[in-house]
Symmetry: C2
Subunit: 451 residues, 2 copies
C-alpha cells in the first residue's frame, strides 16, 4: 500500500510541475477519498490548494474529511467563501461537527456562516452533547417514516432524501411526536409488497441508546449485537440521531489506545504518535514520571531504615531487584487482566470476590513454581546458605501473593471510587509492590537470619 | 442492562418452575438473540435444552451463535440429529466455521454430517485458510452479478437468494471467470432505472483484500475506508468471499486485548478472563515470570560485583529502586507508544530514525526535568553531600535517555526481525533497563565518589 503511494506520489509531483491538470484529475477521480487524503499528506503543502480544486465536489468533500487537521486548516484559509460553501454542503453532519471541534474559532465562524440554516442547527445540536457521549458521535441524518406509510411511499422518500448509503441501510419508524417505535432495513423494504404499511413489516423491538450514554458502552453494544447502525434517543424515547459503525470502529481503537497509554503512565492524546510535538510528548509523560519517582523514594526510605540489616548481610542486596521485579510483573499481570476485563464489560465490581479468589489460587501456583525454581538456583548456582535461600524464596512466594491480590483488587476498587481503572495499572502497582516487597523481605530476613 | 437481566432472570427461573412455556416463549421472542444468550448464560444449565426448544428456528440459531462455547457443547450433546440440522441450516457459514473450530472432534463430525453439501463445502474451504487471515474471517455468502445483468433482474436475484441483511448491502460484479470487476450498493440499485445494466451503475474501483492478508490489516482498512463489507479475492483476483464489519469489530477488540496481554507479559488467550481456569491463567503467566526472574538475576550479579562500592557508600543503595523504577517507566512509555503506533499502522520500520530522534529530544527534556527536581529533593530533604546528589542526578538523566532510546528502538528492530513488537514492551524493557541503570550508576559513582 505504502510502496504504491510512494511511486504515485512522485508521479503526481511530476504532473503538477508539468501542469498536466487533466491527467491529474483523471488519476485522482479513480481513487478512494482516504487514499487521496493519504497522498495529499505526502505532497508539498503549496501544491494542495491546486490539486484540491481539481477534485469533483463530492470527492473533494470526502477527501477533506479524511485529511489531517493542519492540512484542513491550510486549505480552509485559502478557500473563497463559495468554495468553502461547496465543501460544507457536501459534508455529513457528524464530519462537520468533528471539523468544527478541531478548528480555531475564526475558522469555525466562517464554516458555520457558510452552512445552510438546517445544517447549522444540526451541528450546534450535536455540539451540545458532552464529549465521549453517544450524542457527540451520532449523526442527525437519518430516514424516519410514520407507521402508516406504505412501502411504495417509503421507497420514494428514500430516493428523495439522498443521504449516504451507510445511514440508509436501516430506516426508523416514529410516532407523530417523534417517539421511536420500530426499525426497518432497506432489504426488508425491497422484499416487501409495495402497498404494505411500514407498521406491518417493521421490527418493533428496537435497541436504542440514550444521547448521554458513554461512547465506549455504545461500542460494546455494537460488538454484542452486530449492528451497523443504532438509533439514539432522548429522555422521552424520541429519535434524535443514529450512530454508525464507522464511528464505532474509531471509538474502539481510541479507547484501546487510551487504556494502553494510561497503563504505561502516559496521559492519553487524540493525536497519532508521529504527529505529536516533542513538547507535547514530554507534557504527556513527565508528570507521571515525577509522581512515580517521588513514590519510589519511599522504597528508598525503607532501604535506609534497614541499612544495618543490609550491611550485616550484603548478599541480601543482590536479590532486591529480582524480588521487586517479579513482584511488579506478577502484580501487573493481574491488574492488566482485570482492567481489560472491565473495559470489555466482562468483569464488574460485583465480581470482586470471585476475581480475588481466582487470583489467590493463581498466585499460590505462581509463587510456588517460582520459589521452587529459585531455591534450586540459589543452592546450586549461587551456593548461598540455606537460611538465605529460605529467606529469599519465602519472600518471593509472599510477594507474588501480595502483588496479585493488590493488582486484582485495586482496579476494581478504583473504578468503584470513580477513578479510571487503567491508571491503576503497571506503574502504580509496581511502585506499591516494590515498597511492599522490601518490607516483606526485611521482616522475613530479621526473623530467619542472624541480623 | 445487567440490572434488568438480573430481574428478568429470576422471572424466567420462576416461569420455568411453574412450567409456563407459552409465557416463556412470548417473552423470549421479543428479545435480541445476544440478550437471550446472555440470559441463558445466567440460568441453570439443566433448564437450557428446554428453553432452547421454545425458541423459533431462526432465533434459536442466532442465540446459539452468541452463546458461550461450553453451553453450546452442552446443547449440541442433547440435540437429536434433526434438531442439530435445524440449527446448522440457519447458521451463516462464518458462524458455522467458528463453531467447528471450537468444538471437539466428535461434535464437529456430527455438525458436518448435518450440514447440506454446499454449506459443508463452504465450511471446509474457509477452514483451509490460516488463522488470523482474511480468508479465515470471511463468509462465502455474498451476492454477485454478471456485468450485463439488468437492475430489474439483479433485484429479483437478491429476492431469491435471501441471505442476511448485512451481507447484502453491497453486491459485487464479476466476470464469467469469477474475476471481481465492480461493486454496487443496494441503495444504488434501488435508485437506478430498472433496465440499466449493472455495468453502468457499478463502482469499478473496488478495494479488495487477498485471502492471505492478516486480519489486523483488514481491520485497519475498514477503519481507514469506513467500509461495512469488503471483498476477499484469491491470487487471480477472483472473488471468494466477503469480510463484514461485525467480524472486524471483534478482530479489533481481540487484537487490542492480545497486545495489552503481551505488554503485561501474559500469553494471550481467546477466552474471557472470568471463563479461564486457574490452571489456564497460571500457564499463561508463569513462563514469563520465570523468564523475567532469571533475567533479573543479572541485575543481582551487577550488585554483587559492586558490593565493595556499595559498602563504602551505603547511601547509594537507597536510590537504586528510584533509578531502576524511573528508568523502567521511561522505557515503557517509549516502547508502548511505538508498539501502539505499529499496531495502528501509524509507525513503520522506515520511521526508525525519526522515532529515535523524537525520543532523544523527549528523553533530554524528561531527564532534565526529573534530575532538577530530584537534585532539589536530595539537597533539601535528604541532605546528602553534593557529590552523591550529582551522582544520583547524572545517573538519572543518563538512565532516562538510555531507557527511551532502547524503548523506542527495540519494538521496531524486533518487528523487523520477525518478533512480535508487543512482547518487547514493559517487562523486557524494564529488565534490560534495570541492569543498565545499575551499570551506569556504579560507573558514575566510581568516577565522582571516593570509592
Amino acid at each position: 500500500m505504502t510502496e504504491k503511494n510512494v511511486t504515485l506520489e512522485s508521479t503526481i509531483q511530476a504532473l503538477v510541475q508539468a501542469k498536466r491538470y487533466t491527467t491529474l484529475r483523471d488519476i485522482l477521480v479513480t481513487m478512494n477519498p482516504a487514499d487521496v487524503a493519504a497522498l495529499f499528506g505526502e505532497l508539498e503543502v503549496n501544491a494542495l490548494p491546486l490539486l484540491f480544486r481539481l477534485l469533483p465536489k463530492e470527492l473533494a468533500a470526502e477527501t477533506f474529511v479524511e485529511m489531517e487537521t493542519d492540512a484542513q486548516e491550510l486549505l480552509l484559509h485559502g478557500f473563497s467563501d463559495s468554495e468553502l460553501k461547496d465543501v460544507v454542503d457536501e459534508l455529513y453532519v457528524d464530519d462537520a461537527v468533528d471539523l468544527v471541534e478541531e478548528m480555531p474559532a475564526n475558522v469555525v465562524k466562517r464554516i458555520l456562516r457558510q452552512a445552510d440554516p438546517e445544517k447549522r442547527r444540526m451541528i450546534n445540536e450535536i455540539l451540545r452533547y458532552p464529549d465521549d457521549s453517544a450524542g457527540s458521535i451520532m449523526t442527525t441524518e437519518f430516514v424516519d417514516f410514520p407507521p402508516n406509510l406504505t412501502v411504495e411511499d417509503a421507497e420514494k422518500r428514500i430516493r428523495r432524501t439522498g443521504f449516504n448509503k451507510e445511514t440508509i441501510n436501516t430506516c426508523y419508524v416514529t410516532e407523530p411526536g417523534g417517539r421511536l417505535i420500530g426499525a426497518v432495513s432497506i432489504r426488508t423494504l425491497l422484499l416487501a409488497e409495495l402497498d404494505d404499511p411500514i407498521e406491518r413489516i417493521m421490527e418493533p423491538n428496537v435497541i436504542s441508546v440514550m444521547t448521554t450514554e458513554d461512547q465506549e458502552s455504545v461500542a460494546q453494544m455494537f460488538s454484542k449485537y452486530d449492528f451497523t447502525a443504532m438509533p439514539v434517543v432522548d429522555g422521552e424515547n424520541r429519535l434524535v440521531g443514529i450512530v454508525t459503525v464507522d464511528d464505532v470502529l474509531d471509538v474502539l481503537q481510541d479507547e484501546a489506545t487510551e487504556d494502553i497509554e494510561k497503563m504505561a503512565a502516559i496521559t492519553p492524546s487524540d493525536k497519532p504518535y508521529m504527529k505529536m510535538s516533542v513538547f507535547g510528548i514530554w507534557l504527556a509523560r513527565v508528570p507521571w514520571l515525577l509522581l512515580l519517582m517521588i513514590s519510589a523514594t519511599f522504597t528508598g526510605l525503607i532501604i535506609n531504615h534497614f541499612e544495618n540489616a543490609l550491611s550485616a548481610c550484603v548478599t541480601l542486596t543482590a536479590y532486591i531487584p529480582m524480588l521487586m521485579g517479579t513482584g511488579g510483573n506478577s502484580g501487573s499481570q493481574a491488574s492488566v487482566a482485570v482492567i481489560r476485563g472491565l473495559s470489555l464489560g466482562e468483569v464488574e465490581f460485583s465480581d470482586l470476590f470471585r476475581v480475588v479468589w481466582k487470583e489467590f489460587r493463581v498466585a499460590l501456583l505462581c509463587g510456588l513454581t517460582l520459589s521452587v525454581c529459585n531455591f534450586g538456583k540459589l543452592m546450586l548456582f549461587d551456593k548461598v546458605g540455606l537460611s538465605v535461600a529460605l529467606t529469599v524464596c519465602l519472600t518471593l512466594a509472599v510477594v507474588v501473593l501480595a502483588a496479585k491480590m493488590i493488582g486484582s483488587m485495586l482496579p476494581l476498587l478504583g473504578q468503584k471510587l470513580g477513578f479510571d481503572p487503567a491508571v491503576m495499572a503497571s506503574p502504580f502497582i509496581t511502585t506499591i509492590v516494590d515498597a511492599l516487597a522490601l518490607l516483606i523481605y526485611f521482616q522475613i530476613a530479621v526473623h530467619l537470619l542472624p541480623i
